[in-house]
């Protein structure tokens, strides 16, 4: 492709998709890692095959903290991938065979497919219980992308340097050294390089089977021995499918190989026999078609992720505004919207105008995955339930199964530890953050001062009374939090809200005077008036929002009974 401007529309499309349509996806990936600018961090990555690709991918993903920059970084990456394909197409002299425009679009289209749709796989049933725990397991951690991309500049250099070698009839011996190096840097995606070299070899007329056989045996030898000698504590499958290609190390989703395989199919299309050529073109096209699972696209999971992003950025009004238009019917969504309402002091007023999933609509039980409890962790933190926030944040971070830290959660943990007076532990987390790009400034300030306004706020709000946490009595815990500090009006709103969600009308009515006395409301909030009307009419007052909630809960309970 001579005119490189042809990539511009793709680049713009990629940028638009990431920045305008799905910025939350970038946010999600960014909050599941903590990239450190230290030699140790790089060395740790390079200690395993595919480490350089891993390091580059994390380096790029860190920019997603600033959405426009993250979108730009990923767009550059995707465009490089298209260019890499183009380079191979050029090498294989395919210009007269196929429409290159569509060829180079393959990887980009596939990539966007993977990015846009596959991410949402685990989220495809938003009506089921909260956020499915397997959400993260289906997420691709961008690893193969730089792995594929990295081949391009490398191959270009090698090409110019080793032209003579390549021109020889049997050039495969040159890979004896190059393949292991490439394997160590980018992982098993290097197999694509090996496959393309074989195709290239055949395309140039090489036919001696013994060379090909030796080549294949050598590759197998390298992979098996690398595993046996250098990373035996990993399963053997990791040597062939990648160590950190997926956030769940033991998973090797087929989609990881979609891009490399399509490139390979395209390359095979230059096979001299005409029929075979069309066969491979068809296979490449088919693989593209198979990999377009847009029919499964469900916007709700993305909406929840978007709420998570907005809550993280404390854009409370936007959370509420979006929920007014559409709210996914999940517990997480209820929690995010309720938190936004509470932060804007609208919870008492408007809670039941929005979807409420049940007694877990304010605070959820502990779950073992890296997302479901994020809303609860945020709520605990803003309420001032420091130990609970610390627990949920720690467990969320520990649930990132590839053992990466989270900048978002590390920051929360450090602040909670400081508020608890655990300076030594907090400093440990802050030192970690001080090596990152976007968390450094605050971390360094806290390392210097030992506190900031946020720490003081948390210390003001926290419990004064020792007790053991009990989710079954979360309403009482919220009540005590408020009693310990009557200025904590958010705790009061949560307390009364929890009583309503639980259907504990007696306690709600008993504690309603607190709302008038301490809540700072000039008049009784409309939401509480609505609830009182429902309670006084024994649920028979028509059109009451709380009444509708109670009916829905009762109906759900009856459905669940049989």
């Amino acid at each position: 492709m001579k005119n490189k401007l042809i990539y511009l529309p793709f680049a713009l499309l990629t940028y638009g998709l990431l920045y305008f349509w799905h910025p939350e996806v970038m946010n999600y990936h960014e909050q599941n890692q903590l990239f450190l600018w230290t030699g140790d961090y790089l060395a740790q990555r390079l200690a395993l095959p595919g480490g350089l690709a891993d390091w580059i991918s994390e380096c790029l993903v860190q920019f997603c903290y600033v959405p426009w920059l993250g979108a730009l970084a990923l767009t550059v990456l995707f465009t490089l991938l298209a260019l890499a394909t183009n380079l191979w197409v050029g090498l294989l002299a395919l210009t007269t065979l196929l429409d290159l425009y569509s060829l180079i679009s393959f990887p980009v289209a596939l990539l966007l497919t993977v990015a846009a749709a596959r991410w949402a796989d685990g989220f495809s049933q938003p009506h089921a219980a909260p956020t499915p725990a397997n959400f993260s397991s289906k997420c691709i951690a961008f690893r193969p992308i730089p792995a594929g991309c990295l081949g391009a500049p490398w191959i270009r250099d090698v090409w110019s340097e080793c032209r003579k070698t390549f021109a020889r009839p049997y050039p495969l011996g040159a890979d004896a050294l190059l393949f292991p190096v490439l394997y160590w840097l980018v992982g098993p995606t290097a197999l694509l390089y090996a496959a393309l070299r074989l195709v290239h070899y055949y395309a140039r007329g090489g036919r001696r089977g013994i060379y090909v056989l030796t080549y294949l045996i050598y590759i197998l030898f390298i992979l098996l021995n690398a595993h046996r000698l250098l990373f035996p504590q990993w399963p053997l499958s990791a040597a062939f499918c990648g160590l950190n290609y997926c956030r769940v190390p033991t998973l090797h989703p087929a989609c990881h190989w979609q891009i490399p395989l399509t490139v390979l199919f395209v390359a095979l299309a230059q096979y001299p026999a005409k029929v075979a050529r069309y066969f491979w073109v068809a296979v490449a096209g088919l693989s593209l078609g198979v990999l377009l699972p847009l029919k499964d696209y469900d916007p709700d999971p993305y909406e929840v992720l978007k709420q998570d992003m907005l809550v993280r950025q404390e854009r409370w009004d936007e959370v509420i505004a979006r929920a007014e238009r559409h709210q996914p019917p999940t517990s997480m969504s209820s929690e995010y919207v309720n938190l936004a309402l509470a932060m804007k002091r609208q919870l008492a007023e408007r809670m039941f105008q929005f979807y409420q999933s049940g007694p877990d609509a304010l605070l959820m039980r502990s779950m073992r995955d890296n997302l479901s409890n994020m809303a609860t962790a945020e709520a605990f933190y803003h309420l001032g339930m420091i130990n609970s926030a610390l627990r949920y944040c720690s467990d969320l971070q520990e649930s990132i199964v590839n053992n990466r830290k989270s900048g978002r959660l590390e920051r929360r943990i450090a602040l909670c530890q400081l508020a608890n007076g655990r300076t030594a532990v907090a400093r440990k987390h802050l030192r970690l953050l001080s090596h990152s790009l976007y968390y450094r400034a605050e971390a360094e300030e806290l390392l210097r001062q030992g506190y900031n306004d946020e720490v003081k706020r948390l210390q003001r709000l926290r419990y004064r009374q020792e007790m053991l946490y009990d989710y079954n009595e979360i309403d009482k815990m919220l009540g005590l939090l408020f009693v310990n500090n009557p200025d904590n009006t958010m705790a009061l709103d949560y307390f009364l809200g929890q009583l309503l969600l639980k259907g504990d009308v007696q306690n709600f009515m008993g504690h309603l005077p607190w709302a008038q006395q301490y809540g700072g409301y000039a008049v009784m909030p409309a939401g509480y008036q609505d609830a009182v009307r429902t309670i006084q009419s024994h649920g028979n007052a028509p059109g009451t929002l709380y009444g509708n909630y109670v009916k829905k809960m009762m109906s759900n309970a009856q459905t669940e009974k049989p």
Partner: protein, 495 residues
Amino acid sequence: MKLKLRTRDLGRGLALVATLAVVCALFFTSGTPDLRRVRPVDALPPMYPDYTDVTIPCNLAPLNFLLRDSAREVALRVDGRFLATSHGARLTIPLSRWRKFTAEHRGDTLQVEVFARHADGWRAYRSFTWMVSPDSIDPYLTYRLIEPDYEVWNNLQIEQRSLADFSTKQLADYHLQQNRCMNCHIPQGASARRSMLYVRGEGGGAVLNEEGRLRKLALTADSLVSGSVYFSFSPGGRWVVFSSNVIIPGFHTHPDRRLEVFDTRSDVYVADLQERVIHVWPQLADSTQLETFPVFAADGRGIYFCSAPRDSLRSHLLHGLKYALLHVDFDEATGQIARQVDTVYAGEKSVCHPRVSPDGRFLVYTVADYGTFPIWHPEADLSLLHLDTGVRDSLPQVNAPFSDTYHSWSSNGRWMVFASKRDDGLYGKPYFTHIDKEGRATKPLLLPQRYPEYYDHTLKSFNIPELVDAELPFDAVDVQRAMQREAETFTLKRE
């Protein structure tokens, strides 16, 4: 073009190389201070780990340390001779030099001086002593690496570390165990010939190492309280006494407290590894009591364990849950236990993790204000009981303000390793203390690392440290293979 090498060019090249070598030497090597110009400082060096006034096993790896100040160079002088110098605040001692030094000074108490160069010149900190103990420590340490979080664990590893240097070996690794929980690698009396660890979860079991042959055991039965948790081998190796516990986590709201892990039910059982029978004795499995932490006496003639009334679970915030230390006679030949259970110690505090010294003279246990999980109790301390006299020693020279618990003895009985959170209150690290024939303990020293900053950076706790007298004859791959087998089942026998 043919390259002609002329003598003049060669001379220039050599001069350049020599200059570079001199520059590098000046830049990368550090010097010793001119003692006439050193400024004395009336304070101990701010060294981390704190290796001042410690007793060092003669076969331990070098005590690398760093100074927690703005030192630009550090020099270490021992017994009047400079042992090591460094650029920057970190001082690492070459392994060969350290080995020679410890070999030469076995049994000596040495004067140690630390010098540091700051912006204003060299400073000499107050000197301290190192006692190089002639008692060697077992050459290997095993432990579990885990992040001290709450309910979620991830990426667990059981590791073996050579104490003579810094090399490690994975004994069980999460990559090969589907990220399941793994715990409690415990040898039989610090012997590498027999040990056992657990892999939890679906398809899990106990992996028993018998001189390198791994057996997978289902050390449980339907009517047991739960799976096996704490265990101990009899000296002969035929018997295993273990507890089965229903463990519940509780979460504090107080800033100084974090977790409260307690048992709602627990009993102690004796398993015969030879006949594959689990014996249930009413003395050890009383439903009104919570029995746990069983351990064999050094001679195998008794079992020590802890017990608390189950009623105490109802006490306010579990503050009344206090375990006593009990003893029951055991016959290793027949596997019979006596009817009579004796109370060894029952006090104001709760007793956990009793461990008897190999010579049978001392019993070290952890005391906490209450409860059964001292690792989360900042006040938890070690205590030593002289079994022959009944005298209790609260080990003030060993304990620190944060949790000191989970200890094990070396095979010669002169060293003890324990997990202490003294640095920051959260991350457990292995400390060693020397215990002489009279039961006197020395100031503990932290397991040295190749780079002492390791402890600043790691987010893992060293859990269940155990000393082992030789390299363990298996690794993580062997454990993975063992886990793929069918587990050997046990039958239950009520006595």
